[in-house]
């Protein structure tokens, strides 16, 4: 499938956690940036309640927010993406007033004049914050004037999502830009090191690049329309 990246005006990525962008969409972002399209990340929280503290661990509950904030800033630099931090708190997004979150998202989407929004597909996104952020983003777009609504690409990651939603509509092979994606992933040192060590077991012969590629090469989306 050939995607015309340059046809877009502005891509807005909406997720709750520092690192969601690097796992889910970093390669896609690089492809848009290489086509000259601006991309902005609206990041909901600082992941301040994450339980990964580095491996071996170097963070604690009180230092984690600042560490993850810096990791997020660095990751966005690696893939040349603008960043807006929304200052919600990790693990609490689903308890916020969804309409208030949606109104704020809509304002930002409209200000950025987004032609495409990338977010999580609720309720197929496993983490409660992912689903809450996706729901608020969907609501924000539903609230927009139908003529002005951006396209929506949504990540479904739950184990059952294929049965329910079918195969993804968009599958992006990030191999040709994977070094940048890997750089973004590695910017999240407190989160990624443990994961890479885990998947390395049994794959000792692979380079770090090939190991990461095996798990994170493809970025998949379901397109969503609101009528």
């Amino acid at each position: 499938m050939e995607i015309d990246y340059s046809k877009h005006k502005h891509v807005v990525v909406i997720y709750p956690h520092p690192d969601d962008e690097s796992f889910g969409t970093a390669g896609t972002v690089v492809k848009f940036r290489e086509a000259g399209v601006p991309v902005t990340y609206l990041c909901g929280t600082l992941g301040e309640m994450g339980r990964n503290m580095g491996s071996p661990f170097f963070a604690n509950r009180e230092t984690l927010p600042e560490i993850r904030k810096q990791e997020l800033i660095n990751a966005c630099k690696e893939i040349d993406m603008d960043l807006q931090m929304l200052s919600y708190r990790d693990k609490t997004m689903e308890f916020e007033d969804e309409q208030v979150v949606a109104d704020d998202l809509r304002k930002r989407i409209e200000e950025l004049d987004a032609s495409l929004v990338i977010t999580f597909y609720p309720p197929y996104a496993v983490h409660p914050d992912h689903n809450a952020m996706g729901r608020a983003a969907f609501r924000a777009i539903r609230d927009m004037d139908p003529d002005k609504r951006p396209e929506v690409w949504a990540n479904a990651i739950s184990n059952d999502h294929q049965e329910i939603l079918g195969s993804p509509d968009i599958v992006i092979d990030t191999k040709d830009v994977f070094q940048k994606k890997l750089n973004a992933l590695k910017a999240h040192k407190s989160q990624i090191d443990g994961m890479l060590q885990k998947v390395r077991q049994g794959n000792e012969e692979l380079s770090e690049f090939d190991l990461a590629l095996r798990y994170f090469q493809y970025e998949t989306y379901h397109t969503v329309t609101f009528d």
């Binding site: 309640m49 339980r51 990964n52 503290m53 580095g54 491996s55 071996p56 661990f57 604690n60 509950r61 009180e62 927010p65 708190r89 693990k91 496993v126 983490h127 409660p128 914050d129 739950s158 184990n159 443990g194 060590q197 885990k198």
Partner: protein, 117 residues
Amino acid sequence: MKSIELNKVQDYLDQWTNKPVYVHVETTNGAYAKHFDANAYNVGAYVRNAQITYTQGKIVEQEGAYRVGLKHEIGWIYAEGLTDFEFNENNQLLMAGHDADGRLMVAMQLSETPFNY
């Protein structure tokens, strides 16, 4: 953080006996437990910035892990599985238990001033 030293932590607990402090307590097995194991079940709870005045705080060791109990006027606060601690530059006593991969499983933290929220 470093491995808990019982006497040091007991001294930190003692300094706040009968003084109002803010407590952070949490336990978690992560948001992906069930995602990776259909038989598992996500559990967790956290309290951030409850204010209590404990009349007795005590740390107890068993087989390399620690429990801390705070007795107060009308009840208790308790955490099990603590292994590491730090008394940071903001005069906060941080205690946590980590799994073999360094992931936080349980935490209990005390501070005279509220934790960032």
